[in-house]
C-alpha cells in the first residue's frame, strides 16, 4: 500500500513508523529540518513543504496513493489536505481533528471535506478515559460504529453474581447481545440455555449504556455506579468531553475549571455536571469540597506538570483511582511509576486509532480476541450483498460459518438484531466471527 502521511509531529511519526515496515510511506512536513531528520530515523521518503499544496501532494504521488493520512496539529490544514488529495486521486483519506464540531459535520454528511475517516483526538481520548473509568472489570473494550456500539470481554470472577446463571438470565438488557463464551481456551457460541461458570470469558456487544449496565451486574464491587464520585480536573476539550460522556452514562461528575468564562460555558453545556470555578492546585479548596473522598479523579489540565501535581495530590489525599492525561508521550511511564493508576496520552490514542484503520480488510473495523480464535468485525453492507434482504435467522441457517450478529446500526441509530430482523444496504453490522469463518463472512458482504 502507498501511504502519504501529512504532518510529522508525534502522531504522524508514530503512524509512519508503524506502517513503514509493510508499506510504502511518504511523509510530508512543512518544517525542512524535521523532514530531513525523519529521513534517517525511518525507512520512509520525506518531502518538505505545505501538505495542503497541490504540487507538494503531486510530488508525494498522492494521485497513486491508496491512503492519505492528514495528522498535523491544525484541524483546518488536515481538512484542506484531505480535500486537495481528493482532487488529485482516489486515495482513502483520514483526517485528525481536535474540534468535535468538524466531527459532527462529517458524521452528519458522509464524505464531507473530502474526508473518508475522521479521528477526533480529544473525543477519542475522552472515550478512552470513560471506558477505563466505566469498565475496570473488562479485559478488552473496543468501540464500533463511531462509538454507538461497544464490544467488551469480561472474565467471570468467582464471586460474580452472574456465575452459575444461564445466558438468558444474565442478558436482561434490550440492546445487548451475548455473542461468545471462552471456556478453558475453547470458544463456544452461546445459546439462551448455556450456563455461565466462574473463569469463563464472556464477550458482549451492545450499546455503551447496556455494556455498562451488564458490567455492573457482573462485577458490582469494582464497576462504578451512579453513586460514585468522579471529579474531572480541568475543563479542556478532553475534560469537557469526558464529563459529557460520563453524563451520557448516567454519572453525575464534578468538574473543576479555573477560568470563569470557560467554567460558565462548561456549566451551560453540561447540565448534569457540577462545575466549580477554582484553582485545582489549592489544597484548601480540595479538602473543602471533599475531593479526597472522590472515588475517581481525572486530571485533564493543559500542562503535564499541573496534571502530575494534582494526580500526586489526589493520591495523597486518598483518592482510589487517578487517571491522568499526559500530553508528552515520554512522561507516560513516569506517571505510572510514581503510582498514578492510568496515564493516557492523546497522541498515542490517535496514532493507534489511525493505525488500526490501516489494516487491510473489507471490514470497517476489527478487533481480535483470545489469540485470534475469534474476531469482531464491523461491515458496511452494500446493495445486493449476500447478507441483505433476508431475515437473520435464514442467513444463520443457510451458512456453515460460526458467527453471531451482535449489533446493527442503521442511519446512526442502534438496531438490536433479532431472528426476524432483515438487513438492508447501508447498515453497519457488528459481528462476532470464529476466525476460520472470517473469509466466508467477508465474501458474503
Amino acid at each position: 500500500m502507498h501511504v502519504v502521511v501529512i504532518g510529522a509531529g508525534e502522531v504522524g511519526t508514530s503512524i509512519a513508523s508503524s506502517l513503514a515496515s509493510d508499506h510504502v510511506v511518504v511523509v510530508v512536513d512543512v518544517d525542512p529540518d524535521r523532514a530531513e531528520q525523519l529521513k534517517y530515523e525511518l525507512d520512509v521518503l520525506t518531502i518538505a513543504g505545505d501538505g495542503t499544496a497541490s504540487d507538494i501532494q503531486t510530488a508525494a504521488e498522492v494521485d497513486r496513493a491508496d491512503m492519505v493520512i492528514a495528522c498535523t496539529d491544525n484541524d483546518q490544514t488536515n481538512l484542506v489536505a484531505c480535500g486537495t488529495a481528493k482532487t488529485l486521486g482516489d486515495a482513502f483519506t483520514i483526517a485528525r481533528v481536535k474540534s468535535t464540531e468538524y466531527l459532527r459535520t462529517w458524521e452528519s454528511s458522509e464524505g464531507a471535506f473530502g474526508v473518508d475517516f475522521m479521528v477526533c483526538t480529544d473525543l477519542q481520548t475522552a472515550e478512552n478515559i470513560v471506558r477505563v473509568i466505566g469498565l475496570p472489570a473488562a479485559i478488552d473494550v473496543d468501540p464500533f460504529a463511531s462509538g454507538l456500539v461497544q464490544m467488551a470481554e469480561f472474565e467471570i470472577a468467582e464471586e460474580s453474581p452472574v456465575a452459575g446463571q444461564t445466558v438468558s438470565e444474565a442478558d436482561r438488557f434490550e440492546s445487548l447481545t451475548f455473542v461468545g463464551l471462552f471456556r478453558d481456551g475453547e470458544m463456544t457460541i452461546p445459546r439462551g440455555d448455556t450456563g455461565i461458570e466462574a473463569g469463563d470469558r464472556a464477550v458482549v456487544i451492545g450499546s455503551p449504556e447496556s455494556v455498562q449496565a451488564f458490567a455492573t451486574d457482573l462485577a458490582p464491587e469494582t464497576t462504578p455506579g451512579r453513586a460514585d464520585e468522579i471529579v474531572v480536573v480541568g475543563g479542556s476539550e478532553i475534560g469537557y468531553q469526558t464529563a459529557r460522556l460520563l453524563e451520557e452514562r448516567d454519572f453525575r461528575p464534578r468538574l473543576i475549571e479555573r477560568d470563569p468564562d470557560r467554567a460558565r460555558w462548561l456549566a451551560e453545556n453540561l447540565p448534569d455536571t457540577v462545575v466549580m470555578e477554582h484553582d485545582a492546585t489549592d489544597t484548601e479548596f480540595l479538602s473543602r469540597e471533599h475531593v479526597d473522598e472522590a472515588d475517581i479523579v481525572v486530571t485533564a489540565l493543559r500542562s503535564d506538570e499541573k496534571n502530575l501535581l494534582i494526580s500526586v495530590l489526589a493520591k495523597r489525599l486518598g483518592v482510589d483511582r487517578v487517571i491522568a492525561v499526559v500530553d508528552s508521550p515520554d512522561y507516560v511511564t513516569v506517571f505510572e511509576e510514581i503510582g498514578i493508576d492510568i496515564a493516557i496520552n492523546p497522541r498515542t490514542v490517535t496514532a493507534e486509532e489511525i493505525t488500526r484503520f490501516t489494516y487491510e480488510s473489507v471490514a470497517e473495523n476489527i478487533a481480535v480476541l483470545e489469540n485470534d480464535q475469534a474476531e469482531v468485525l464491523e461491515l458496511e453492507l452494500t446493495e445486493g450483498c449476500g447478507l441483505t434482504g433476508r431475515p437473520i435467522s435464514e442467513i444463520v441457517a443457510d451458512s456453515d460459518a460460526r458467527f453471531v450478529i451482535g449489533a446493527i446500526t442503521r442511519d446512526d441509530e442502534l438496531v438490536t438484531p433479532r431472528g426476524d430482523t432483515v438487513l438492508r444496504a447501508g447498515d453497519h453490522v457488528i459481528l462476532f466471527v470464529e476466525s476460520e469463518s472470517v473469509s466466508a463472512i467477508t465474501s458474503m458482504a
Partner: protein
C-alpha cells in the same frame, strides 16, 4: 424640551395608531344601527378620533424610532388608547346620570378595558341603562388590548413594522420576545390570527348553545360580547351578574377558553405547525397546567367542605361536587390568569377561601399570553435563582446556570426578572397603603382584603377584588385620586412596569 429622546417621532407614530382606532368604532356603530340606537354617538366619536389622529400624525409625518423612542411610543400608545377610549363613554353619558360621563371615571373604565383589567366603575351594568353599542365598545376595548394594540399595529401597518421587534418586546407580556418568523410582522399576524381564531371558536360555541336551547339568554350579542372578553382575559360583561347570569353549561364552555388565554400563544403556533412537543416540553406551560390543577382541586375541596355560604349567585357548593368543582375551576381560571369573570360572589366566601384566591392572583398567566400578573415564567426563575443562591452559599465555587425547558437563561435576563418582581411587589404594597390612606381621607375605611386586592387587581390587570370590590361590586366609591393611581397601575401593569418607568427615568436623567 429635549428629554434625550425624539418625542416628536413617538408622538407622530401615535397619530397613525389613533387614526386606525377610529376604524374599530365601526363595530359599536353597527351594533347601534342594528338595535336602532343613537348612531350619532359613535359617528361623532369616529370623526373626532380620526381628526385627532390626523392632527397628531402631523407632529412628525416620517417618524424614525430608536430604542428610547420605542419605549416612549409604547407607553404613550396605551395611555392614548385609554384617553381616546373615553370619548364614547363621555359623549353617550353626556347629560345623563351615567357614572362614566365624568373624565376620571371614563378614563378608569377605558383603561380598565384596554388593559384587560375588568375593574369597573359603571354604575348599573345593564342594556336598559346603557346602549348595546356602548357596552359593546366596552367589550371591544378589551379585545383590542388583549393581544396588544402594538402587536396589532405591527401586524397591519407597514410603517410600524419597521421598528416592530423593539416595540413588541416592550409590549409583550413576559421577560422576552419570541420571534416565530424572520419577519416580525408575520409573527404579529400569526399571534393575532390564533387569537382571532380562538375568539371566533368561542363565539360560535356559545351561540350554538343558544341555538340548541341550552343557553336561552346567550344570544348573538352576548356571545360576541363574551368572546371579546374571555380570550383577552378581560372580565367585562354586559350582564350585571357576569357569567353567573348564564347556565352551567355556558360556564363549562368558558372555563377552557379562560385557561387557553393564560397560555403563551406562541405555543399554539407550534402546535398548529405540528410541533405539539414544544408545548408539552415547555416548562412554563407544565407549571401552569400543574398549578391550575392543584389549586383548582384544593379550592374545590375547600368549597365542598363548606367555605361558601349558599348564595343566590353561585348556588350551594357544600356537599355538591359538580358545583364545587365548577365554581373552583371558574374562579381559579378567572383570577389566576387575570380574566376577572365571576360566577359566584366569592367576596362572601369565608376568609380562608378568599385569602386562598388572593394568593392565586399573585401568580399570573404565562409569558406571551393575554393574562396579567407577574407571570409563571418569572416565578419559576425567581424560585430557581433563590435555590441557586442557597446552594452557592454552601458551595461558593460552584458555577450553576439556570435552565428553563432545558436551555440556559441569560444572567442579564435573570437580573431583569428579579428587579421586575421586586418592583411589582413594592409598587403593589405602596399602592395598597396609598389606597387605604386616600380612602380614609374621604372618610371610608377599607378592609385589609379590600386595599390589598384593589392594588393587586389593578396592577395585575385582574379586575375584581374582595369586599366591596367583589366580582359584583364596583370601584366607584374610591376618590378620584385613588382612581387615577389605579389607572396608572393598570397602565404600567399591562406594560409590565419597565417601559413606563424607563421613560420616566430617562426623562429625569437627561439634562
Amino acid at each position: 424640551m429635549s428629554w434625550g429622546v425624539n418625542w416628536k417621532a413617538s408622538v407622530g407614530l401615535l397619530g397613525v395608531g389613533i387614526k386606525y382606532l377610529a376604524v374599530t368604532m365601526l363595530v359599536p356603530l353597527v351594533v347601534a344601527a342594528v338595535y336602532g340606537e343613537d348612531i350619532w354617538v359613535f359617528l361623532a366619536s369616529m370623526a373626532l378620533v380620526a381628526a385627532i389622529g390626523i392632527a397628531v400624525e402631523r407632529v412628525d409625518p416620517d417618524p424614525d424610532l430608536g430604542p428610547r423612542e420605542a419605549l416612549l411610543f409604547v407607553s404613550l400608545a396605551w395611555l392614548a388608547a385609554a384617553v381616546i377610549g373615553t370619548i364614547p363613554y363621555m359623549l353617550a353619558g353626556h347629560g345623563t346620570a351615567s357614572t362614566v360621563a365624568t373624565p376620571v371615571n371614563a378614563l378608569f373604565e377605558s383603561m380598565s378595558g384596554f388593559t384587560t383589567t375588568g375593574a369597573t366603575v359603571l354604575g348599573e351594568i345593564s342594556t336598559d341603562r346603557h346602549s348595546h353599542a356602548l357596552l359593546m365598545w366596552r367589550q371591544l376595548t378589551q379585545w383590542l388590548g388583549g393581544m396588544g394594540i402594538i402587536v396589532l399595529m405591527i401586524a397591519i401597518l407597514p410603517e410600524v413594522a419597521v421598528n416592530g421587534a423593539q416595540l413588541m418586546a416592550s409590549e409583550a407580556p413576559g421577560p422576552e420576545l419570541q420571534k416565530l418568523t424572520p419577519k416580525i410582522a408575520e409573527t404579529a399576524r400569526a399571534l393575532w390570527l390564533i387569537y382571532f381564531g380562538f375568539t371566533v371558536l368561542l363565539v360560535a360555541l356559545l351561540y350554538a348553545l343558544h341555538l340548541l336551547g341550552m343557553a336561552p339568554n346567550m344570544d348573538l350579542y352576548n356571545a360576541v360580547a363574551h368572546g371579546f372578553s374571555t380570550l383577552p382575559t378581560g372580565g367585562f360583561s354586559p350582564q350585571a351578574d357576569s357569567i353567573g347570569a348564564f347556565s352551567a353549561v355556558v360556564q363549562w364552555v368558558i372555563i377552557p377558553f379562560m385557561l387557553v388565554a393564560g397560555v403563551n400563544f406562541a405555543l399554539f403556533w407550534h402546535v398548529l405547525r405540528g410541533e405539539a412537543e414544544v408545548m408539552l416540553e415547555n416548562a412554563e406551560f407544565r407549571t401552569y397546567a400543574g398549578a391550575l390543577a392543584v389549586i383548582t382541586a384544593l379550592l374545590a375541596v375547600i368549597l365542598f367542605g363548606g367555605a361558601a355560604p349558599p348564595l343566590e349567585l353561585g348556588g350551594t357548593t357544600q356537599g355538591v361536587a359538580e358545583n364545587s368543582l365548577r365554581q373552583a375551576a371558574f374562579q381559579v381560571g378567572s383570577l389566576l390568569n387575570s380574566t376577572g369573570f365571576a360566577t359566584a360572589d366569592f367576596a362572601q366566601w369565608d376568609t380562608h377561601a378568599q385569602v386562598f384566591l388572593l394568593f392565586t392572583m399573585f401568580i399570573g398567566g404565562s409569558a406571551g399570553s393575554t393574562g396579567g400578573g407577574v407571570k409563571i415564567v418569572r416565578w419559576l426563575i425567581v424560585g430557581k435563582a433563590i435555590r441557586r443562591e442557597l446552594f452557592t452559599t454552601a458551595h461558593p465555587d460552584v458555577v450553576q446556570p439556570i435552565r428553563l425547558s432545558g436551555s440556559v437563561v441569560d444572567e442579564d435576563a435573570i437580573r431583569g426578572i428579579m428587579a421586575f418582581t421586586m418592583m411589582y411587589v413594592v409598587l403593589f404594597a405602596l399602592s395598597a397603603v396609598f389606597l387605604s390612606l386616600d380612602a380614609a381621607r374621604i372618610g371610608t375605611q377599607l378592609t385589609m382584603l379590600e386595599s390589598t386586592s384593589a392594588s393587586l387587581a389593578t396592577i395585575g390587570n385582574i379586575g375584581p377584588g374582595f369586599g366591596r370590590l367583589g366580582p359584583f361590586g364596583s370601584y366607584l366609591f374610591f376618590p378620584d385620586t385613588s382612581k387615577l393611581l389605579m389607572v396608572f397601575l393598570m397602565w404600567i401593569g399591562r406594560l409590565e412596569i419597565v417601559p413606563v418607568l424607563a421613560v420616566f427615568i430617562s426623562a429625569m436623567d437627561s439634562r
